[in-house]
């Protein structure tokens, strides 16, 4: 949380995160570049420029696969939530690695010609009407543009400037980028590499991303809504609530609401964090404040406001206890509206 923009708000956890990420990337590249040539045992080696391009390309694919696995893993098991915390740095690093791959390709395959490398890239192969021989490079170009755009807008300044819903939708481009990268690999190197190992690794990585997303979707799909005649939405039985945590329910308009039990009283706020739409209901009340599990943004559960000097606000909702269950009024109050908490009397009728 911040009241002013600085390039990076460093803290020890971010240092650890970035350090581990950089060591991982360095390990991948070092092993690929300096260990595998001897292990390959080719009589004549692959061109160093091609070997470098492949190392950085494979590394970018692996990084992107890991990044896309983090989200569903965190939903399936909350112990993975810390991996989300600094994922943006992971994404920015991926864009740099992918750009290095593109640089090697341009400076080798598309160099040494009377055309400029970019002109050669766009003109050399125009067989767009076929699968085998499709100009797969253009898919890589698209993915790199997406990754660059996402990296360039990753800072919280852009989040605030574009507004969280727009920013979030923009950053869904990561899926388009990944799909393009998979196409780039499948229509490119996999067309030639006869080894089953490389096929399994690339396709297995992409399949893992799909399976984890499906599993997270399956686990996170909303329970059927119980809507009373008054239009209020049932959240859960009173016995289901635990001090400091929330129960989440889906409203008829598709929004989700998180109902927290704090000091024996119920309060409801929107489930989407004002920062990156993180799931507030999967967070916890820390120091009397709802704390987002993604980046630690905090809100007073009684009014949906971040503590001063911060200015983030989320909508609040009216709550009632009736017939041993907790209900919320689906009509959201404007963000930051104070609502009196409702005492929870377990076993109330």
């Amino acid at each position: 949380m911040s009241v002013k923009y600085i390039p990076v708000q460093w803290n020890p956890n971010k240092w650890y995160y970035d350090g581990i990420m950089l060591v991982g990337v360095a390990a991948f590249l070092w092993v690929f570049l300096y260990i595998t040539p001897d292990a390959l045992g080719h009589e004549r080696p692959i061109n160093p420029q091609i070997h470098n391009a492949r190392a950085f390309g494979a590394c970018a694919f692996t990084m992107l696969t890991v990044i896309l696995c983090i989200g569903p893993l965190a939903r399936l098991d909350h112990r993975f939530l810390p991996l989300l915390y600094n994922r943006r740095h992971f994404g920015v690093m991926t864009a740099f690695v992918a750009a290095t791959h593109a640089g090697y390709i341009l400076d080798w395959y598309f160099a040494f010609s009377s055309r400029s490398p970019v002109q050669g890239l766009l003109e050399a192969n125009t067989s767009y009407g076929q699968i085998a021989g499709f100009p797969f490079e253009i898919l890589g170009v698209f993915a790199l543009i997406c990754l660059t755009l996402l990296a360039a807008t990753s800072h919280d300044f852009w989040l605030k400037f574009l507004t969280p819903p727009v920013w979030k939708r923009l950053h869904y481009l990561i899926y388009a980028a990944y799909a393009a990268v998979v196409g780039h690999v499948v229509l490119g190197i996999l067309q030639d590499d006869r080894g089953i190992g490389v096929n399994l690794l690339f396709i297995g990585g992409a399949a893992l991303v799909c399976v984890l997303h499906l599993a997270a979707w399956w686990q996170g799909r909303a329970e059927p809504m119980g809507i009373a005649a008054t239009g209020w939405v049932q959240v859960a039985p009173v016995d289901a609530f635990r001090e400091g945590f929330a129960k989440i329910t889906k409203l008829p308009d598709g929004d989700r609401v998180a109902v927290f039990l704090h000091e024996g009283q119920l309060s409801a706020i929107a489930n989407a964090c004002a920062h990156q739409n993180g799931p507030l209901g999967e967070g916890k009340i820390v120091d009397c404040l709802v704390t987002c599990p993604w980046h630690g943004f905090q809100y007073d559960v009684r009014n949906g406001q971040s503590p001063a000097p911060f200015t983030e606000k989320v909508p609040t909702y009216l709550v009632k206890v009736e017939g041993g269950a907790v209900f919320v009024n689906p009509a959201a109050n404007p963000p930051g509206t104070a609502v009196a908490p409702v005492p929870l009397e377990k076993g109330a009728t």
Binding site: V25, R54, A55, P82, L83, F112, N125, G296
Partner: protein
């Protein structure tokens, strides 16, 4: 859930979670190293083609023929390239030598450069300007081509330079755009036949009636194709004048 440790990024990690985080970090680092190894060792052998700088500069004399891609029929060879052999040429980078060779068609010329060699196939990358090719004293004539009839071949259209070893690997679909760029720059195209033709699996491929590789063939570069055409022996090199109407993807 209330008993589970809750991570807040700007606070110290809770004790109950530290072990998991250390394990996750270690697994990420080791996993990345393992992925680098697994993907790195899965690369195919690029084959034996290569620039032969170790042979030193090669300078020979011969008669220039345009097919339209220029060939040299060697009349005065050296230890490496013998008289009577025929070979293709390219300039530096993704360029042919058509412009420099055309004025010398049918004449004796001295050529100088570095060899690219892949098995029986070799090519000379000429030095720049007149150092690479120039008119020379001597006599000789373009040998009469020997017609070997119409053939239906299966194989791959490549650019002769990358195939010979300028790129390692220098063929296949991942290399298609590079091959096309070379061919657009007048580097001689080579057909790699799945079955040897008169003892050779490499044939210089042209369009019909002494024309360059037709534009229609560019979509098929680097793919496994079948194509019919006239095969002729030009000196020691086979030239395959393809019929573009018969070009098709091999089943």
């Amino acid at each position: 859930m209330s008993d589970k440790p809750f991570f807040v990024g700007y606070l110290p990690a809770p004790g109950g979670l530290r072990g998991c985080l250390v394990l996750a970090g270690a697994l990420l680092m080791l996993g990345m190293a393992a992925a680098g190894f697994a993907l790195g060792v899965a690369q195919d052998d690029p084959g034996e083609g290569a620039f032969r700088f170790d042979y030193g500069r090669q300078t020979v004399t011969g008669v220039v023929e345009l097919t339209p891609y220029p060939l040299i029929h060697v009349t005065e060879g050296n230890d490496r390239i013998k008289a009577g052999e025929t070979f293709m040429m390219s300039a530096g980078g993704k360029s042919g030598v058509d412009g420099r060779a055309a004025p010398l068609a049918g004449q004796v010329a001295q050529v100088s450069g570095v060899m690219l060699e892949r098995g029986d196939l070799y090519m000379l990358q000429l030095r720049g300007g007149r150092n690479g090719i120039r008119a020379a004293e001597g006599s000789g004539a373009v040998p009469e081509p020997q017609d070997l009839g119409r053939w239906r071949l299966a194989g791959e259209i490549c650019d002769g330079k990358c195939l010979s070893g300028a790129m390692r690997p220098g063929r296949g679909l991942a290399h298609k755009a590079c091959a096309n760029l070379c061919l657009l720059g007048d580097v001689p195209p080579v057909f790699v036949s799945t079955q040897p033709v008169e003892g050779s699996e490499f044939l210089l491929i042209t369009g019909p009636d002494g024309t360059a590789l037709p534009e229609a063939a560019y979509d098929y570069v680097a793919q496994y194709v079948t194509v019919e055409g006239q095969v002729r022996r030009h000196g020691s090199l086979l030239v395959f004048a393809m019929d573009p109407d018969t070009l098709a993807l091999a089943p």
